[in-house]
């Protein structure tokens, strides 16, 4: 059984229908990369999965829990789904350590000492143990994003959703974030990544999902998507975006 199932998801903002029936399934350990022009509902899709945005229609399951059910305790589900934002959204008043520790202590109820140990281990994993006592304002964008990945990892998530994690970064800082994500994918973390980084998609993704106009146009392995897409529009978009962002990384 798939770890995550999304069925016929719809979302409308005013007159504009951003999601027009999206269906996908994700296995444990799989890395899915979602690509597509901006404004085609990729971020909305991620936010509807953990109901940061309430979908209008459709269902989402995490294993055998229906996330979209009114009876589901959404906070329990969210604690199992990591979310990495485009603009990091670290808590300004807390150090890196406290940013990572907050969820452990306040959501998972872990005692301070244990939470500290776990948080330090995650900061180590993203290469920032030395910055444990720094505040977000004292970190570069790349470092902030790595702390936010550590914050997600500390919760032992079954799945992490990445919403354009490198789009707000200076070009020279993108690499450090991508290499953390590549390592995560190799370690078997289940990830859905919305990104324009074609190099990452090509080398790490198990599956690439191409979205446009609120629907999935085509999905498949990187090999298929890059070499022999079935829909002409997929090939056209991939060529354009690869020219723009390069795929040498």
């Amino acid at each position: 059984m798939a770890l995550l199932r999304v069925e016929n998801l719809h979302k409308r903002y005013g007159h504009e229908e951003v999601l027009k029936g999206v269906t996908l399934a994700q296995d444990a350990g799989e890395t899915k990369v979602v690509i597509g022009p901006s404004g085609t509902g990729k971020s909305t899709l991620l936010r509807c999965i953990n109901r940061l945005t309430e979908p209008d229609q459709g269902r989402v399951w995490l294993e055998d829990t229906e996330i979209t059910s009114r009876r589901t305790d959404i906070n329990r589900v969210r604690a199992k789904i990591g979310f990495v934002f485009q603009d990091f959204n670290l808590f300004t008043h807390l150090t890196s350590l406290d940013n990572v520790r907050l969820g452990l202590m306040k959501v998972r109820g872990m005692p301070r000492a244990a939470a500290t140990g776990r948080a330090m281990a995650e900061l180590e994993r993203v290469g920032l143990a030395a910055k444990a006592n720094a505040y977000p304002a004292q970190l570069s964008g790349g470092q902030q994003q790595r702390v936010s990945i550590a914050r997600a990892l500390a919760m032992d998530p079954k799945l992490i959703l990445f919403d354009e994690p490198t789009s707000a970064l200076d070009p020279e800082l993108i690499g450090e974030v991508l290499s953390v994500m590549i390592q995560l994918a190799r370690d078997g973390m289940t990830m859905i990544v919305v990104t324009h980084e074609m190099g990452f998609a090509r080398s790490v993704a198990d599956e690439i999902v191409f979205m446009e106009g609120g629907v999935i146009v085509e999905q498949g392995t990187p090999d298929k998507m890059f070499r022999s897409p079935e829909v002409p529009r997929t090939g056209e978009f991939l060529r354009k975006i690869s020219d723009l962002y390069g795929e040498s990384r």
């Binding site: 934002f85 670290l90 919760m155």
Partner: protein, 225 residues
């Protein structure tokens, strides 16, 4: 004017200080009440559904719009007419405290609104409920940002405690008037002494708030305003 009257103030200083102590008690009572009610009012104005927010808005409108001395009379004489016997001290804390809460709500509301919404989303994404996300993420930042405005409110209500004189609280102004009644030549020296005491108190209070502000300072927090 005979300068010797100034030395005659000295024996009255302990009585004045006893009065000042009542002002300090009034201050602590009213500013705590104002803090709690002010934070709650601001939370309601920012986060509650619109109808509830309108009620909170009407509340701050009322307490910011009615003169303090009128509020004091309303609470002291008004409550007893409803069969609620209140001491002058309690009525003063209530009237001035609720008035202060309306002003403090304005300070906190601005601070709440200045915390980037993304942080609230990140807290919710971790699995924190709405209220707990506010308590652990928004509130600690908003309170820090409020300190500057809050020190203003502190100075203002500290002086407002003298208005409690109007409903018969035996605070410093009432003690001063007792002294003056017995010896009119002391009028100027007594009130100058009262003024000096308030100047010192305001200075010390603001010094303490300034220290707290420095101690609680977090890099990057002030910059996001």
């Amino acid at each position: 004017m005979d300068l010797s009257v100034w030395t005659e103030v000295a024996p009255h200083v302990p009585v004045l200080l006893r009065g000042l102590l009542v002002n300090i008690q009034l201050l602590l009572g009213l500013i705590s009440l104002g803090l709690v009610v002010g934070v709650v009012t601001a939370l309601i104005e920012v986060y509650a559904p619109r109808p509830v927010g309108i009620v909170a808005g009407a509340y701050t409108w009322f307490f910011r719009g009615v003169p303090e001395i009128v509020l004091l009379f309303l609470f002291y004489f008004g409550l007893s007419q409803f069969g609620v016997p209140v001491s002058a001290f309690f009525a003063a804390v209530l009237a001035l405290g609720l008035r202060s809460s309306a002003y403090q709500a304005q300070i906190f509301r601005g601070a709440f609104q200045s915390i980037p919404h993304g942080q609230m989303m990140a807290a919710r994404a971790l699995g924190l409920g709405r209220l707990r996300a506010i308590v652990h993420v928004v509130l600690p930042q908003a309170l820090r940002l409020s300190l500057a405005g809050w020190s203003n409110e502190f100075s203002s209500v500290l002086k407002d405690t003298t208005l409690a004189w109007g409903i018969g609280v035996v605070e410093i102004m009432r003690q001063a008037s007792y002294i003056r009644a017995r010896n009119f030549t002391l009028t100027l020296p007594i009130y100058v002494t009262v003024a000096l005491m308030f100047l010192v108190l305001t200075y010390v209070g603001n010094l303490a708030i300034g220290l707290a502000e420095r101690k609680l300072r977090v890099p990057g927090l002030e910059g996001q305003r």
